[in-house]
Symmetry: C2
Subunit: 298 residues, 2 copies
Amino acid sequence: MIGEVPNVEAGQGFSTRRLAHEAGVHRPLQAGICGTKKIGAESIVVSGGYKDDEDYGNVIVYTGHGGQDGAGNQVSNQSLEDSGNAALVTSYLEGLPVRVLRGYQGDTPYAPATGYRYDGLYRVTGYGSKLGIDGFLIWQFRLEAYDDTPTPQTTQQPELPGAPAEPESTSVPGNEAPERITSTVQRIVRSSAVKRQVKAWHDNRCQVCNVRIEVPGGSYSEGAHIRALGSPHNGPDTTGNVLCLCPNCHVMLDAGAIVIEDDLTVIRGGQPAGTLRTHPQHAIDLECVRHHRERWRQ
Amino acid sequence: MIGEVPNVEAGQGFSTRRLAHEAGVHRPLQAGICGTKKIGAESIVVSGGYKDDEDYGNVIVYTGHGGQDGAGNQVSNQSLEDSGNAALVTSYLEGLPVRVLRGYQGDTPYAPATGYRYDGLYRVTGYGSKLGIDGFLIWQFRLEAYDDTPTPQTTQQPELPGAPAEPESTSVPGNEAPERITSTVQRIVRSSAVKRQVKAWHDNRCQVCNVRIEVPGGSYSEGAHIRALGSPHNGPDTTGNVLCLCPNCHVMLDAGAIVIEDDLTVIRGGQPAGTLRTHPQHAIDLECVRHHRERWRQ
């Protein structure tokens, strides 16, 4: 349910939400966010429902769900407890792709002239709250198109001379301009199904140092391959070769500052530093542990 | 000196190393690695000098420098103290691009038929040691072409039926295959000049928790924007808006688990948690601190 839907390509139009629902692009008929805190956001609809939204084509600033009256005015605060908002936080923390559907109601050059258009996969690269135009707390999510997501079509509407460009960040002479290529947040990369399984077993608690990083709306950890994928290591992408680690221990594992003995003793900086925490369903592949250890003999 | 060289495009040939030197693509006339521990590796030459090398075109397993006799046999251990090897470790830890020049001597289908060919920018996505074919310790670096680096040309030599593909990682039924698109290591992204300045002032020590991550051959930290770049935050890319953080504190800053008061008190999980460490040359931009704090009111 996360990611591309079979037989639907970016740019494809749907005259109604029901047709988008039937194609599996966006399953709810009313809600703008499809997803749950547990699995993340499958898809969102960008259709002008929130006046604080911003749409720059490949970048969308999307206002979360909640707090509106029937006329579309914000009348109370939004919350990350809201299921749709919590889903978008999970998409951020897990680096998951979100399908974007744009509707004709949006007053942006990227809105389709009629109906709805599937515009491909975006990722959530940041979130935060602010006081919205109506004076209530809103949560906003920055979504960026993947490099291989096509640029959405622009409808040249008379009242809009052209597609807006995302405002430049303030630039100070002598300093390097922000590199567009690296986008705004790059730390978080997509967790594979194997990594998500390991992280779920350990509930995002680091198997080496026991840290669990708590953030508004969730917690964060990383799946780390013990024996690296690809040449020259060619490790398997299996749960036995993946650890649930905090980012700091992940860096240290990847660069050999942490190695693991066959009895699961953790060696950090050459010194024993406790025992790798395990889980009944998580059997560590000792061949991978050995291969990693061999790689860091000096 | 790091990155692309003016007026030279990927695929361009040089009949001699002196011409590549004069073009600025690879400055040394003999050494295979150009760079230092301080600035990272500018460029490498892949020319069959080490029998443990592997070349898959977009992926290169490159053996470090040292320990050879005049005949190209490994006769002693390699070390990360070697300046060229240390430079490649810095390129890994800083996420810096490395120019790749392939020479005719390489016995791979990607070697040019004659002379040398500049093949564009690669990044170091991992490193480690092993016992090489000759029985001595060698250090190896995995380099991957950037997505926009052209695929190198293949020379169809009679004795080589075709370009080798990188071996698939072991796959287990029911598990997701490794995603090629995400490559093997994605945690480390390029540090901009602004970020590198801040990290240098703090010598890679986290300004929040004082952790300094030590790994074989160097240390690691991340430059973190306080007020995020891009919409809706539009923070400046200046040293006053960047902190030197460990990866864990970076995740927490980006997701609002850490905010900073005007007097530089750190609030972590809603509780005071010490004071942000500063440096005489590093003036924190309090407008950015306030903007970040406002973003995480709940």
